[in-house]
Amino acid sequence: MRLILLCALAFMMVLPAAYAIAPSEMLKDPVLEQRARELGKELRCPKCQNQSLDDSEAAIAVDLRRIVRARLVAGDTDGEVKAYLVARYGEFVLLEPPVKQTTWILWFGPLVIALIGAVVVWRIARRGRAQMTETADELPDDDTETGPVTR
């Protein structure tokens, strides 16, 4: 019994990621269908917060997948398809937010914080080494002399 359960579990783990796309939705042209799949992964279903178009079975996701395919067949570039949806649904439909002034903090904030942390660590390490090499009578009598970061 246990073995059967284990096998079932293992089987489920190797299954490829399930898409919500029905076979009837797919395009005959495999190249266009591939592009539609790439776009479907990068676009968000507006109804479902954090699911991509391809992963969602919401009616609006089905409609938008159809629109994406119709635009590709009509000769749109990937960028034009995205722009079409952004014009109607806002930048929310892009799962990866674009780099622009209002999203700088999102993209570069973690980097800035890591840099500040590195500077702080570097300063503490340098002072620790300096104190170890100083002799006792050279130590400053006031700890504020050593800079803003003190223990």
Partner: protein, 184 residues
């Protein structure tokens, strides 16, 4: 009393506290918001181009198109369907806005069967100006609709000024009517 320069040197200690306070206020504010209520990408832009046939069974000479929205006075565009529960909830509010306050409300019947839409209106009342029949939901996509009901305020020049995703409640209806008065 401490010397000022000494105080100044101690200032960086406060920095984490200040950052924390700022983040706390920002995030606390965000907690109360409904992530399902997206702002419309169409605000202050002209309403999308569309031309819909009237709902079957209504006056066949009354289609609903972009031109009917720019009439010099603000109107509401309400997406509804008979299969949509919240639409039933908000419908009496729409009726009251139209009947008691003289608001012009055009309906877009979204992905519905005309006979069922007619039954819905017979049951709950039909106070719409025009009703366009959006059988495949294409016009919904033009408006950026992702779930109905959704209601749009269109000003006299035919620009989208406000969007309410989800059912109207009496408070929102008041706010919308106040906004429409400023547009008049």
């Amino acid at each position: 009393m401490r010397r000022p320069d000494r105080m100044l040197k101690r200032l960086p200690y406060l920095l984490p506290l200040v950052i924390f306070a700022g983040l706390a206020v920002y995030l606390w504010d965000g907690l109360g918001k409904d992530p399902g209520r997206l702002p419309s990408a169409l605000i202050d832009k002209p309403a999308p181009e569309f031309n819909l046939p009237p709902l079957e069974g209504r006056d066949p000479s009354q289609p609903l198109a972009t031109d009917h929205l720019a009439t010099g006075k603000p109107v509401l565009v309400n997406f509804f369907a008979s299969w949509c529960g919240p639409c039933r909830v908000e419908h009496p509010i729409l009726n009251a806005m139209a009947q008691e306050h003289g608001v012009t409300i055009h309906g877009i019947n979204y992905k519905d069967r005309p006979e069922q839409a007619r039954a819905f209106l017979r049951q709950l009342g039909d106070t719409y100006g025009r009703i366009g029949s959006d059988l495949d939901g294409r016009v919904g996509i033009e408006f950026g609709v992702y779930g109905i009901p959704e209601t749009f305020v269109i000003d006299g020049q035919g620009r989208v000024r406000y969007r309410n995703p989800g059912p109207l409640d009496p408070e929102t209806a008041e706010k919308i009517m106040a906004l429409m008065e400023t547009l008049e």
